[in-house]
Each structure stands twice: as C-alpha cells, then as structure tokens.
C-alpha cells in the first residue's frame, strides 16, 4: 500500500469516527446545541466524502465520486466560516441576554432600595420638571397637564439650580410652603451627568424635618429652663448648707458650754458628797450613808457623761489636734487596760490583756488610749457577770490590730451600722445594765477617723462582739487608709 493510499485510509477512518462521535454527543447540552452539532456533522461529512472518493480512486475501484469531490471541497471552507460565525453570534446573544437579565435584576434591586428609603428622592430639572420620583417623593409631585412637576419648586429651586450647574449641595435646610403649611426640609442634591457631559437634571434627596426642628427648639428651651432651675436650686442648697453649718456650730458651742457649766457644780456635788460620806461634818447612820452613796455614784456617772459630751464636741469641732510620738503599742495598751480591771472585777468579768508583743509605731498616745478605754469600758458594760473581755494586740505586715473581744450580748446585723452614731445604744431599754449617753463608740469612730485608723466590728447576738482597731504601721498603709473608716 502506497503512502497516499494509507493516508487516505487513515483520513477516512478518522473522519468517519469523528462524525460518529459528533452525532452521538448529546445535543441538549448547553455547550453544544442542536444546530451547532449538525453544522459540524455536515462539515465532517464533506471530509468523509472527499476521503472516501480518494480511497476508491486510488484503490482503483471507481473514480465516479471524483467529479463531486470538487463541490465538496469548495463548500467546506465557507461552511466552516458559517459554523464559526453562527457560533460566535449565538454566544454573543446569550451573553447579551444574561447581561440584560443582570441589569434588570440590578434595576429592580435599586428601585426597591430607592422606594424604601426614608428620604424622598427625585430626579428633576432646573424648572421643576420631574423625571423620576420614588414612593416617598410622589406625594410632592403634581401634573398640571404639561408633565409632572415638583410642588416644592419655589423653595427647593435654588438648590436644584446649583446642582444642575455642577455644585453639589449637602444637607441644606430650607423653609418651604406645602399646601399652605410652612415646613422645614433638609435637602441634598447632585448633578446627573448625561451623555453630552452637561447636566440638565439633578438628583434631589429631601426629608420633612419640621417635627425634628420643633423638637430641637423645645429641647433648647427645656435645657435653658433646666439650667436656670439648677442654678436656682444650687443657690438654695448653698444657703441651706450655710444655715445648717451655722446651726451645727451653734449646737456644738451650746453643747460645750452647757457641759462645761455642768461640770463645775457636779464636781462640787461629788466633792461635798465624799466629804459628808467621810463623816467630816459629823457621823452618819447606815441609811444616810446608803442614800448619799447613790448621790455620789449618780454624780460621778453624770460627770462621765458630761466629760464624754465635751470630748465628742472637741473631736467634731476638729479641735483634737493630733500629737504623734514613737510609742511601744503593747505597753501603751497594757497601761490603759490594767486600771480597768477593777471595774471588770466589780462586775464579775474576767478582763485579760494579750499585749506582750513589742511593737513600735508613731501614734497619739492620749487619743489611742481613749479609743482603747472606750472600747474596753463598752465591752465590760455589755457583758454579763461571769463573761470575759479579752484585749489582744496582733502585729501585722502593714498594720497592727488592737482587738477587743467580749462574750457579751452581741449586736444584730441590722443594728451594727448605727451603733457608732452619737447617743445610740442597741438596747436603750436596758439602762440599768448600760448606763451612759451612748457616746463612747461615736467618739471612737471620730478619733479613728482623725488618726487615720480603721474601726471594724464582728458581732453575733448572744455570742459576743469583737471591735478591731486597724493601725497602719507603714507610711504606704497609712496613706492607703486615708482618713479612717468604720466597717
């Protein structure tokens, strides 16, 4: 077999197979299409015919087809060109349809957005002719017969004219008449460029803000009224505060004077009672001694109350000047507690002092002593015979603690906040057990505040109470404790 015959056979075989494959391909496929499929099949069929003609001719079978081969070859190139152009046209049409659908969807989306916008949106010309209006803007459009026009034209005209001339306007406030009503509008406008490049229309967005403007005006008026009211109230409060300060100072002066004036006759009563009890003027019988004993005891009790009131008055008036010195805290506490043992013994209470540790701090000895004395006296007063009062000194890293713990009646949680107030006692009905004016804890609180100490209380009714004085031992702790507090 010659090369020519072999080549023709190969060509025939390949074209025939190609024709079968093209005809077998699904015409419903999007990438194919029936007309495209059959156009290609016809082109390949022409080549099959040419190849078959060549094979038959060179095999010496027949050359009858040779006369038609030229027609087939002449047809082939235009047919290929037709297939290519029609395919290209089909694809361009499909792309155009897809683009049109896309534009239609985008337009629908844009219209939905524009129609649901809270602002009124229009496209208008400088003369007020309306080209487009969204849902909100349509109520401001009227049609007198020569096309739709804006009813807001006289008020918004300057803005639209500026925008058409190429100067965008942003959030301009305009006073416009609508159906006889005068209303405020906020207006923004931008030129709408056309194909010529020159704008004849403007996109105008506006909103009726009459209610908002009215609310703003009302707010301004309200604010001014409020400021005036606050100024007036502040003046009244300052005046009242001044009056209260004066009244408080007068009250403290009165308290100090009365206490001072009471002390002198009281000392005389106590002194002369002791003198009579000592039988210097003459002998007394037992009944006289018993009754004079009541006088002396009541006089001393009254003197103690007066002394407490004077001390409270001094502390509250800020006259208790602090005098700091280096002291051994344990020794100072022992010196205060030991003499009080006599009072505790009289009441059948065991008073102990666990203050053996040596701890040096800077403190006001007199005021610290008074705090401890008041706390211990208070504990003894409210503890039943047979109970204990324990005074402990607990050294710490930043602060030292002086704890006064008793097994007394205790204080309910709801009463713990008020027992530090002046003239307050938990059970005021039990005056026999706890004689006094209820000033001891108040003085302790004020003195702790003055010295920068903290006073805390843990108590349970029927079990006992523990008062703790927190004394800062470092300058940092002292600064942190500030002016002192009660917990």
């Amino acid at each position: 077999m010659s090369v020519v015959s072999f080549s023709d056979s190969i060509a025939l075989l390949c074209y025939a197979l190609a024709l079968v494959l093209v005809l077998a391909a699904p015409g419903r496929a999007r990438s194919m299409g029936v007309s495209f499929k059959f156009s290609i099949a016809v082109a390949i069929a022409l080549l099959v015919f040419v190849s078959l003609s060549n094979v038959l001719e060179h095999a010496g079978i027949t050359d009858a087809l040779d006369a038609y081969e030229d027609y087939a070859e002449v047809l082939f190139v235009p047919l290929v060109a037709y297939i290519l152009f029609s395919r290209s046209t089909t694809e361009q049409l499909a792309a155009a349809e897809a683009a049109e659908e896309h534009v239609r969807r985008e337009h629908a989306l844009l219209m939905s957005v524009v129609d649901t916008a809270p602002s009124c949106i229009m496209v208008a010309d400088a003369e007020g002719g309306v080209w487009f209006a969204n849902d909100g803007a349509r109520r401001y459009v009227e049609d007198p017969g020569d096309g739709p026009r804006m009813v807001l034209q006289p008020g918004l005209a300057p803005v639209i004219v500026r925008a058409v001339e190429g100067a965008p306007v942003r959030a301009s406030r305009r006073w416009v008449k609508v159906d006889g009503d005068e209303r405020w509008f906020t207006v923004s406008a931008s030129p709408l460029p056309e194909t010529s490049g020159r704008a004849h229309h403007a996109v105008v967005a506006f909103q009726d803000i009459t209610e908002r403007v009215a609310a703003e005006a009302e707010l301004v008026e309200y604010r001014e009224t409020l400021e005036e009211l606050v100024d007036r109230r502040t003046s009244e409060l300052l005046e009242l505060n001044s009056q209260l300060t004066d009244a408080s100072e007068t009250s403290q002066r009165l308290l100090a004077n009365v206490s001072h004036e009471l002390r002198t006759p009281l000392n005389s009563i106590i002194g002369f009672t002791d003198l009579v009890l000592g039988e210097k003027p003459g002998p007394l019988n037992d009944e006289q001694k018993r009754q004079l004993g009541f006088v002396g005891a009541s006089g001393k009790q009254l003197l103690a109350i007066v002394e407490s009131m004077l001390e409270l008055s001094r502390v509250e008036a800020g006259r208790g000047a602090v005098s700091l010195s280096a002291v051994d805290l344990g020794a100072e506490v022992r010196d205060v507690v030991n003499p009080l043992g006599i009072i505790a013994d009289d009441r059948g209470i065991a008073l102990t002092c666990s203050c053996g540790a040596e701890l040096h701090v800077h403190a006001d000895v007199d005021k610290l002593g008074q705090i401890v004395r008041n706390l211990v006296t208070n504990a003894v007063k409210f503890t039943d015979p047979g109970g204990t009062v324990d005074v402990r000194l607990v050294p710490g890293e930043d602060e030292a603690l002086i704890e006064v713990a008793d097994t007394g009646i205790g204080i309910a949680q709801e009463d713990q906040s008020r027992i530090f107030d002046a003239f307050e006692q938990v059970d005021r009905t039990d005056r026999v057990r706890a004689p006094g004016a209820g000033l001891g804890l108040s003085i302790c609180r004020d003195l702790c505040g003055l010295l920068g100490y903290r006073l805390s209380l843990v108590s349970e009714p029927g079990v006992g109470s523990t008062f703790t004085v927190h004394i800062p031992t470092t300058s940092e702790a002292a600064a942190a404790s500030g002016t002192g507090d009660v917990e």
């Binding site: 074209y15 197979l17 190609a18 024709l19 496929a29 990438s31 082939f76």
Partner: protein, 94 residues
C-alpha cells in the same frame, strides 16, 4: 496544471481565514484547538494541491494526502473532546 476549483478553494482559504481567526478567539467551543489544527492541515493541503501542478508533483501530492490524514486525526481528537464535554455537560457519564 491546476484546476479552477483548486484555485477557488485556495482563494477562499486566503480570504476567509483571517476573518475566521478573529472570530475563533471569541468563541468557546470545547477542543477548538484540535479543529483549528485540522482546518490548518486542510488549508496547507490546498496549497500543496495547487503547487503540485508546477513543481515536484509526486512529492507534493504525497504531502497533500499526508496533511489530509493529519487533518483527520486532529478532527477526531476535536470530536472526542466535544463528545466528552457534551456528555458531562448534559449530566451523562464522563
């Protein structure tokens, strides 16, 4: 000597091919490169057909038929590509 139909074939190839090349770039037909090669082989075969009337008739005739065989092979490759893609595109077996 040449035949008139061969000259017509060659002229059509020369005039239409540049236009077809521009269109070829934008269409999306699976295996279009194979079909383009097949068309190119056929066009070269037309050239050999015309030239064999003037020089080396036997050699150019042989080359003409060889280009036809190559065109057939490329056309088969293109048809196979179309067949595979059309079946997968239509949801059939790949």
């Amino acid at each position: 000597m040449y035949q008139e139909s061969e000259i017509v074939d060659l002229l059509m190839v020369l005039f239409l091919t540049p236009i077809m090349v521009a269109t070829y770039r934008v269409v999306t037909v699976r295996g279009k490169r194979w079909f383009a090669l097949s068309y190119l082989m056929i066009a070269v075969g037309y050239v050999f057909t015309v030239l064999e009337g003037y020089v080396a008739p036997e050699a150019l005739n042989t080359l003409e038929h060889v280009t036809h065989a190559l065109a057939g092979a490329f056309c088969l490759a293109g048809a196979a590509s179309i067949f595979r893609y059309a079946r997968s595109d239509a949801g059939g077996a790949t």
